[in-house]
Amino acid sequence: MKPMSADELEARLRAAELSRPGLGLEAAIRRGQAAQARREWGTLARLAAVALFVWVLDLAAGFAVDKSLAGFHHSRGADVVARAGPQEPPASGALAVVWQRRWLEQMACEDWMPLEPNPQVGGLKDRDPAGRRGSAEPSATRRTSWRHGGRAYV
């Protein structure tokens, strides 16, 4: 049998009906928009689930860090923690706990700061007239430590 030529084959393909839409324009629009709405709700639900998961994770990490903070409280003295009183930030999540830890460290450092001038490290030159730490021009020995989160172990 003689094989079909390319033109004959193309003509036969063109003559064939492959499929036809089962919907009219209106029905297609309605169905498509409903499907898109479902898809958008699905995306929102997934985002919400991810946010919830991150929050729970943060909370769990907060508890873990809080446990480790207990040791810190003991080592730095309960008076520092007690003095923090109502200003102490709530440790509800890891970020809050980390911030709290830094803040407590700072409190502890202030507690240990010598009240008398220490000529070897610049002493009170580091303090502004109001007596706060962090003057515009810290001494050379303190400069590095100021750059590391305000920890001033002298």
Binding site: M1, P3, M4, A6, L9, E10, R12, L13, R14, A16, E17, L18, S19, R20, P21, G22, L23, L25, A27, A28, I29, R31, G32, Q33, A35, Q36
Partner: protein
């Protein structure tokens, strides 16, 4: 003639971008069938092709004024169908990996077209889509290439291989009968 049709389609896109209903109706009248054919060739299912077409039309409406910036509307529409089919396939694969190959053909083809259907479905998807876009979609190889993201030469060679295979398959079919 193809140029006229493309110009009209571009105009229809501009109208649809402005929210004019007639633009959408023109797009539907002109392109629904070839788009459905393409979706059917990719999914193998009439029902799924209906869904794909519905979502593409809804996405066109959602695009709004951005539609006016489309330069090759015909290729754009076929690419939209292709993307939608791929999205659905990915989603289905995530949900039930065993059900990817389901695709019951809801409406059977006409008896005289059965051989064409079977031969076409026996082709690899990459070749099948080129044939459908060129024969039933009326796209040039340039437009086919744009719609499926390959070079025009690749599209043309896939078409050539596909025709050779179709000729062989359909000859076998005729001999068997």
């Amino acid at each position: 003639m193809a140029f006229d049709a493309d110009e009209k389609l571009r105009e229809a896109f501009r109208l649809a971008a402005q929210g004019v209903r007639a633009g959408l109706e023109w797009i539907w009248a002109e392109c629904a069938r070839p788009l459905h054919n393409y979706a059917f060739a990719l999914t193998g299912s009439q029902a799924e092709a209906d869904d794909v077409l519905a979502e593409v039309i809804a996405a066109l409406i959602a695009k709004g004024p951005k539609l006016a910036r489309v330069r090759q509307p015909r290729a754009y529409l076929f690419a939209a169908v292709r993307n939608e089919v791929r999205y659905r396939a990915r989603r289905r694969a995530r949900r039930a990996p065993d059900c990817i190959a389901d695709a019951p053909n809801a409406s059977l083809p006409r008896a005289e077209d059965l051989a064409v259907h079977e031969a076409l479905m026996a082709l690899p998807v990459a070749q099948r889509e080129v044939v459908v876009l060129h024969i039933w979609g009326g796209l040039t190889f340039e437009e086919v290439a744009q719609a499926i993201g390959v070079s025009p030469n690749t599209a043309a060679s896939r078409y050539r291989y596909a025709l050779e295979k179709l000729r062989r398959l359909m000859a076998d079919e005729t001999n068997e009968r």
